[in-house]
Subunit: 355 residues, 2 copies
């Protein structure tokens, strides 16, 4: 396989699955965690390696090391593996996704931003999402007529924080997720509910529906629900562990135990909450964005800029949502007619938000 | 269709479904609710009618009225309909089930006691269970490898009653079910957890598995769960209304809304509890009975006798479980080799319990 983002949480879990099932790892693509990358190289003997920065190339223990986005595209073309796992973070994941689809490769997609930004231009036929929510939806889909779908949110780091404190919460507090241990960006996206808005958009493209909504289930053991026309609802329940969707995305068949089943008696109780707009202001544009999914590029660019500013302490936590909502208003009539235009819009939005 | 038990809760709901979908009702079989039966005759114009007691025949507004168990068997043979809905209560449902299967008819089975008592001798190929729990299991069954199944219990009328009060609860209190409005016998069976033990046995025969267990979900909106080998669990959620399983058992296809979907935000929270043996003493024989499902006949006979005694105030509430456990111990080495022997064992157990 070709693994983009090998040192992140999804990448590390993917390598565990690859090891267990003796899957050959042809390419490792990493960001800046060179030490971990070197360990992975030693264990998996990839043919090609890509890192983010040219400066890091010399520290990588491998003789075929490429760098940056162009390096990824070059290696995608050189490599023979049919399976690409894309767990890059953010907008940087889009170009490799477009290239993998163009090359006709099977794509296991953990990079949400690919579909959020470019869904309109991406043929999802050969894409399997690595995501508990979309995996859950896929798992539940049967032969009965679907009426609507629901994915769950944990509510993120501030789901129980008094509303008047949200203005002054710190980066450290924002990174303290109640249920999942994940990368930094997605943890913030979870606190602002941007992550769930992105997942609605992904579902929009993957399942070709706008009858998709979300609610908070505080323990994150129910990941997805499907309402069928007859009045039945089915739910997908599983432990908080990405190895399950990864296994299904990476293997042809899953016949053995990937996770221990959830013990509901141990869980004891479940709680469902509405996603309130006063706690999660970006939820106010949910309907609009589902009707205009091509605006995902705007939200994503604004979000990426705002998160960087939040990390740099130039913006408070609520400033992230503010930035997104302002950009959304400013660019609501924008529409890309090609992938090239997507990149232009992305730039413009970033400029606007950085102003 | 041939409807056995038309004036009970399942029967009344079945007629609603029949009316909505213009299904011809060829036979109505009722117990003692002659007034309601006469209304049903006026509305559905059955060809044959059967009542329990000979004395009631004269009060039925129909010219082809049969009576008692033999009347049911006779009419089963005369009628042309291929579909039999058996919602008779108790042991009396067994003979009609055996006859319907013998005649090669399609059987929608709400009478739990048929499989509990005679499962070993019944080919379940043409049987669809009318039961939220087994319907839920059937609904969830997909193409993935199943590891185990779970059905839920409400906990019945006394799930929150202090344990030391159980000895002195009244019949009226026992009939006050927290979630479901059902017949008298099944409401008591729910309070003693006998109903759930019966459902485990039914699942044993319907799904050919002994990896089946139950837990309490206090709101009765999750009816069934399947644990798959991979670590996924799926749940079937639906409103507390039998029209959903009835529709699937009675119609060839269900394409429209039978029930409104459950609104989880309105539900708010769910609670799971272990089925404790001190509150539900018959749960102590669960493993044994699943290993020896042929002993269902013993439990059922003892239960029917004990419930009658409880209604007659000859026995306290805990006396029901006591009676069953004593009979189970006494007859644990019994095994019927034919359906005829089933009826003999049934008689013997009743004699023992009535002593």
């Amino acid at each position: 396989m070709i693994l983009l983002g090998s040192t992140g949480s999804i990448g590390v879990n993917t390598l565990k699955v690859a090891k267990k099932h003796n899957i050959d790892v042809e390419v490792l693509v990493a960001g800046k965690s060179i030490e971990l990358l070197n360990k992975q190289i030693k264990e998996f003997h990839p043919k090609y390696v890509v890192v983010q920065d040219k400066d890091d190339v010399k520290d990588v223990c491998h003789d075929r090391v490429y760098h940056d986005g162009n390096g990824i595209l070059e290696v995608l073309n050189k490599a023979k593996s049919n399976l690409v796992v894309n767990s890059l973070v953010g907008f940087a994941g889009l170009k490799p996704t477009l290239e993998a689809v163009k090359l006709g490769k099977k794509l296991a997609l953990a990079n949400k931003e690919s579909l959020v930004v470019g869904g309109e231009f991406i043929d999802t036929t050969n894409i399997t999402p690595i995501d508990s929510e979309h995996f859950g939806l896929w798992y539940l889909m049967g032969d009965k007529k679907v009426s609507s779908m629901t994915i769950t949110a944990s509510g993120g780091s501030f789901r129980d924080t008094p509303l008047d404190k949200l203005k002054t919460v710190t980066v450290k507090e924002a990174l303290n997720h109640p249920n999942w241990s994940m990368g930094k960006k997605i943890t913030i996206d979870s606190a602002t509910m941007v992550n769930k808005l992105f997942e609605l958009l992904e579902a929009r493209w993957l399942f070709d529906t706008d009858k998709i909504d979300a609610l908070i289930e505080t323990k994150s053991i129910i990941h997805a629900l499907i309402n069928f026309v007859d009045g039945s609802t089915t739910a997908h329940i599983a432990g908080v562990d990405m190895k399950l969707p990864i296994s299904y995305a990476v293997l042809d068949r899953v016949d053995d135990e990937v996770l221990k089943p959830v013990d509901l008696l141990e869980v004891g109780s479940l709680e469902f909450r509405k996603i309130e707009e006063d706690r999660y202001p970006i939820w106010s544009i949910k309907e609009q964005i589902l009707k205009n999914p091509h605006l995902g590029v705007v939200i994503n660019a604004a979000n990426e800029v705002a998160i960087e500013k939040f990390f740099a302490k130039e913006l408070g936590f609520l400033g992230i949502s503010d930035t997104i909502l302002k950009a959304f208003k400013k660019f609501e009539d924008t529409k890309a007619n090609s992938t090239e235009e997507l990149f232009e819009i992305d730039k413009e939005v970033r400029k606007f938000c950085n102003f």
